[in-house]
Amino acid sequence: MKINSLIYTDAELVDKCIKADMFAQKQLYITYSSKLYVICCRYSSCKEDAKDILQDSFIKIFNSIKTYNHSGSLEGWLKRIVVNTALSKYKQTKKRVVSYSADVENLGEFAEEEAVSEEEFAHYDEQILLRVISNLPDEYRIVFNLHCIENHSHKEIAELLLIKEETSRIRLLRARKKIIKMLSDLKQAK
């Protein structure tokens, strides 16, 4: 059951969280955890990793909430922390493994790629898209998220991940191709 998020304003929530008010901390968690969990799922390959990222992110948030200077939106600040936590986790467990989760059902036999039209794409719900992104290899997924959803440039991504700009471009291209392929496979499976 979701508690009414309008009990405190963002500024009041922050002030109370700085004072380690447990009720306010839970309030903040309940208000923003759903959106932040989506980010965690986008950056991770499985639910367990997503839960870990969310948990670590909120602990960091509560420990460093006094550094929030009310300059931007609270939601934006929280999302940045989650993304940074996800990147830290990725850097810690970097491995070059191509992972295809069993969560994506019945991919069907490998066939020629069929393009996915815009109308068809609209029918895919967020859950499926999330699964498709989670099924990308780690390095492709990170670059895709940072560029397409977080709107980082390739130069910024290269600095963040300590890779070349060209590598970032190649990974993004491959990520897009893979997403299209997986969506078309799903379309065929249906």
Partner: protein
């Protein structure tokens, strides 16, 4: 690049913008556990800090009051002089120590001189100018026995030996027309 590849990112972003998933309950339980643990650590550190500060403060106060009490002058007692001109028992020597059994004479920085005969019964006050500084002997007729000191010992050394023997016994000093028996270097009683 095909149309889909070019726009797939934007399409996914627009779909994900308002998408929410409720995380499992266990996530908050774990977070709460960590927060409570951190709170307990902070509280414990504060208590330890307060205890240490209290102990330090009490120790300082105790030392301060103890120091003041030591230097306290009781009514009727003259203040102990700590000026260089005060009689320092270690530095004084006995004059005429070669004559065992002779009366020992001494003086203090106040100009009072005490002379004691062999029986130790009479104590007279005389002019300081006549007599060198000396250590006073206990009234109980402790004789100076210089026989144990080798003959070829220099006088200065001889005197030191005698002083060392006497220092173990209580001595008397005079301050402001009053004679005090000194049991130790730090305590004195009106005699």
């Amino acid at each position: 690049m095909s149309f889909e590849e070019k726009h797939i990112g934007k399409s996914i972003k627009s779909k994900m913008d308002n998408f929410e998933i409720v995380p499992p309950e266990s996530v908050w339980d774990n977070i709460e556990g960590v927060l409570l643990k951190n709170k307990a650590i902070v509280r414990r550190n504060r208590i330890i800090g307060a205890a240490v500060a209290t102990i330090v403060l009490v120790s300082l106060l105790y030392m301060f009051f103890n120091f003041n009490k030591k230097n306290e002058v009781k009514p009727g007692e003259p203040e102990i002089q700590s000026s260089p001109s005060s009689v320092n028992i270690y530095d004084t020597v006995i004059s005429n120590t070669a004559n065992a059994g002779s009366s020992v004479q001494g003086s203090t920085n106040k100009g009072h001189v005490i002379q004691q005969n062999n029986s130790g019964n009479n104590i007279e006050l005389k002019d300081k100018n006549k007599i060198d500084t000396a250590v006073l002997v206990e009234k109980a007729n402790i004789k100076l026995n210089t026989d144990t000191i080798p003959q070829n010992t220099p006088p200065a050394e001889k005197e030191k030996v005698v002083v060392k023997k006497i220092i173990k016994k209580p001595v008397y000093i005079v301050q402001q027309d009053t004679i005090y028996k000194v049991d130790t270097l730090s305590k004195k009683k009106k005699w």
